[in-house]
Amino acid sequence: MKLKLEWMSQLRVAAGQARQSVECEEGTRLEQALRLALEQLPPDRAGALSALLLDGGALSPSLLIAVDEVQVPMGTDPSLSDGATLVLMAPIAGG
């Protein structure tokens, strides 16, 4: 199946692109899809992105992740459907 990823905030800058497509098997879960997305990127981009996405090997609790425009509850790893759009963002402040 095919997934669409939208990187937001610092993730977009680290990934060097706003959007990314990921091909994966039916029933792939969120965390696995993200690892597949990282594998598709050049090593420097994947490294920069991993530093923002991961905290001790797990997804950072500060990430805001949505599947088809609905927030994924923190600490959950939902199974994804073909054509799903994932939005991922790291917190920003401003001032």
Binding site: L64, V87, A93
Partner: protein
């Protein structure tokens, strides 16, 4: 936000004239304008984001603005902090802010504090306000303001920007997530200095002001349980549905809040 029990102040003939272009907006009218006149809004920092929020709320006629911002005007402020001026370089930011806003709307009341939100002032400043607008650059300040706004059951408009991107939502205690539901800890990757254009902070500052106006007047639909994020690089706008975290340390069931 419960403004319903208040006797809102009447509008003077000068005010009816000043606000004559917004009074006919459907859902607003004189009643909405009197609500704005009777309202107090705390803006945490009046820099790139908050200066535009303050300008718009002052222009709209919010009766009392509580503004907190420390430090002196620096050259690097001037690309986005629209209340600062070249002539005010080296002077306290809050003095320039107050003067600019008084020049725009001398009918308003201002409580200007020359320091940022901190443990020592947050309770009093939030206590003076009907609604809070969070425009601080540091998550320590944001999370502190969120905690106190939740404790005092005050709505908080949350605005942020980065590079050509911005985001916006409105938190209502007991109805929506709070900031700590989304960002439970200070994000280690966030840096005090970040890239941004003033037009980006200005865009989300205007929208944050509109959120505050909607919450005060009851007009329209604020971003409750919805999180707007956009990128002016390609003009893509997305609204996400967000939900409270039952394990949130500030507003969750386990926090002891009601």
């Amino acid at each position: 936000m419960n403004l319903e029990d208040r006797n809102f102040p009447p509008l003077s003939s000068k005010e009816l004239d000043v606000y004559s272009w917004q009074l006919p907006v459907p859902g607003h009218g004189e009643e909405g304008q009197r609500k704005l006149k009777g309202a107090s809004v705390l803006i945490s920092r009046v820099g790139g984001l908050g200066s535009v929020v303050a300008l718009e709320l002052a222009a709209a006629g919010v009766g009392r603005l509580i503004l907190a911002h420390g430090g002196d005007v620096k050259p690097s402020d001037l690309n986005r902090q629209l209340l600062m001026t070249d002539a005010s370089l080296g002077k306290p930011r809050i003095e320039t802010v107050e003067q600019r806003l008084r020049d725009l709307n001398p009918r308003l009341e201002f409580h200007c504090v020359g320091e940022n939100i901190n443990q020592g002032n947050v309770q009093e400043l939030v206590g003076e306000a009907d609604i809070v607008v969070d425009c601080a650059p540091l998550f320590e300040e944001r999370l502190l303001l969120n905690q106190e706004a939740q404790r005092q059951k005050k709505p908080m408009v949350e605005a942020a920007m980065y590079e050509l991107q911005a985001q916006l939502t409105t938190f209502i205690p007991g109805q929506t997530p709070c900031l700590a539901c989304l960002t439970p800890i200070k994000p280690p990757a966030w840096k005090r200095r970040f890239p941004v254009f003033g037009a980006v902070s200005g865009s989300v500052g205007c929208m944050a002001a509109m959120e505050a106006i909607k919450v005060i007047t009851g007009m329209g639909e604020p971003l409750l349980g919805r999180f707007l994020t956009y990128d002016l690089r390609d003009m893509s706008f997305t609204t996400l549905k967000i939900q409270p975290n039952p394990d949130c340390s500030v507003c969750g069931v386990s926090s002891g809040s009601e």
